[in-house]
């Protein structure tokens, strides 16, 4: 499974450690994610799932070890290249991270504006994505006026709108009822079907069971390999 020469791999971690002061959040993690994988990182709360995702998009640097993403060595890339790295990802944050002063449309459009797309294209694309996640009616609403499930859908829309190579989803069904959770799962599956790579960090066993896919189990910062459900 851990094979650096695998041509189809898109993410590789080699003996990665992450410390917060003396606290060890991740210990000696090595893993390989292939293109078009649908991978779950599961484990109890506090296991280090969110931390692992953060290392991938350089939300934080590793303490030790190497991370490769789509050919980029994260410990070597310059500050200027970080935006390019991040555009490879569509990230669904556990706390959504929507801009509360901007409308749903503007929140989603931001990704395309940041990558320099034309106004007309943005207009069309954002509308179509919002339609896909079923939140077109709230296009001019501000995020705080939306329910948790609606915000989650906006977060998904923003994650997929830039056609990223990889989607990172941190507890994407965290506080949702099972119908909303199903909608999110279907969206992720749709992205996967179209050739995208998906990594989901969750402790939601129900979600993992429904989705099917590769599962890695984390406990106290250590990778325990394919997990028993």
């Amino acid at each position: 499974m851990i094979d650096g020469k695998d041509k189809s791999s898109i993410i590789q971690m080699f003996h990665v450690h992450k410390y917060y002061g003396s606290k060890k959040a991740l210990v000696d993690i090595s893993l390989n994610v292939s293109k078009n994988d649908f991978l779950f990182i599961s484990g109890p709360s506090g296991a280090g799932k969110s931390t692992l995702l953060r290392l991938l998009y350089l939300g934080e640097p590793v303490s030790e070890g190497q991370v490769l993403v789509d050919g980029m060595n994260l410990s070597r890339i310059s500050r200027k290249k970080i935006p390019f790295l991040r555009r490879k990802f569509g990230i669904i944050f556990q706390d959504y991270k929507l801009i509360s002063t901007k409308t749903v449309f503007d929140n989603v459009a931001l990704v395309l504006e940041a990558s320099g797309k034309k106004r007309k294209f943005i207009e069309k694309k954002v509308r179509s994505v919002l339609r896909t996640v079923g939140i077109e009616r709230r296009i001019n609403a501000l995020p705080p006026s939306l329910s948790g499930g609606e915000q989650q859908r906006v977060a998904v829309a923003r994650a997929v709108v830039g056609v990223p190579r990889i989607i990172l989803a941190d507890e994407p069904t965290g506080s949702l009822d099972s119908d909303s959770a199903d909608i999110i799962l279907n969206l992720l599956k749709g992205f996967h079907t179209h050739g995208g790579t998906v990594i989901v960090a969750t402790h939601d066993k129900e979600l993992i069971r429904k989705a099917g896919g590769r599962i890695l189990y984390l406990k106290q910062g250590r990778l325990l390999g394919p997990a028993p459900i």
Binding site: R79, R87, L98, I99, E113, A114, G162
Partner: protein, 292 residues
């Protein structure tokens, strides 16, 4: 670029009060500095005018007969550097004086006799308009037997020039202080906007926005503020100038008071400088408060 502009304008609208205060502060700084500049350019023009039109007045000894005048005039005219010699009779001079002192003419009325001497007014050729030359010519005129006294404005002008230079220095210092104050105000505004937008900036970075994308609108915003401040400052100065100068022109019709507004090059330069203030303020704020 259109997106940057859009976001910048939105920022200015969202922080309306703050932006207004910033623009007004810049406008006031520009107004004060350019008012000084206006004063100095005009004072400078007046002084140059005086310097250029430097004349020597040569007063004749009393009791010299009128038929000697052409001879004296000829002698003065022969001195190298003299361009033109005009005779001003004491009657003429007295009439002029009365005109100039209309209000106080009662003082003159009480005089039984005209106290003024006959005089020659001497203009010099351009190459002799320098202080040493003027002095040399004046000395030679003074040595003529029928001349009692000569007068030329050199001493007085020199002292005035010194004071003027001192003022000019103070003007530069003030310009510098207002420049820094304006930069500081812009930097502070941008700092506050960064603060209110800190969450948004963090999120933009997470979704892959480049620093250029994040910083661009701040620059546009502060350059817009600088430009507006500059234009408003100059406009207020212009209006004030028009009001004052039309009043002044009605009461005096002196050649000396031919005051002019700043040249287009000059006020465009000031507006450019004001834009630069915006840019610099933004640069400082981003450098300090928007660490990547």
């Amino acid at each position: 670029m259109a997106t940057y502009y859009h976001r910048a304008v939105q920022d200015i609208k969202d922080n309306g009060f703050l932006s207004a205060v910033t623009i007004i502060t810049i406008a006031l700084s520009i107004l004060i500095v350019s008012a000084f500049a206006l004063f100095f350019t005009n004072a400078n023009n007046v002084m140059n005018h005086w310097k250029k039109s430097a004349r020597i007045m040569a007063y004749l000894k009393p009791g010299i007969s009128q038929k000697n005048f052409p001879d004296i005039k000829r002698k003065i005219q022969e001195i190298y550097g003299v361009q033109d010699v005009n005779f001003i009779s004491k009657e003429e001079a007295f009439k002029k004086l009365k005109e100039q002192m209309k209000r106080q003419s009662s003082i003159l009325m009480n005089l039984n006799e005209n106290p003024l001497p006959d005089a020659f007014e001497i203009c010099m050729i351009a190459s002799s308009q320098r202080d040493e030359k003027i002095e040399e010519i004046a000395t030679r005129i003074e040595s003529l037997p029928s001349i009692e006294d000569v007068e030329y404005g050199r001493k007085w002008l020199e002292r005035f020039t010194n004071i003027f230079d001192l003022f000019r220095l103070a003007g530069y210092a003030m310009g510098g202080i207002f420049f820094m104050a304006a930069v500081f105000i812009v930097a502070n505004t941008i700092r506050l906007v960064i603060y209110t937008r800190r969450e948004e900036i963090k999120i933009m970075r997470l979704v892959g926005a480049s620093e250029k994308f994040i910083r661009g609108p701040f620059y546009i915003e502060s350059i817009i503020q600088g430009t507006l401040g500059g234009i408003i400052g100059i406009a207020v100065l212009f209006i004030t100038f028009k009001l004052i100068s039309s009043n002044v022109e009605h009461s005096f019709k002196y050649e000396l008071l031919n005051i002019k507004f700043l040249s287009p090059e000059f006020y465009c330069g000031i507006i450019l400088c004001s834009m630069f203030v915006g840019w610099l303020g933004c640069y400082i704020a981003l450098k300090q408060f928007l660490k990547a």
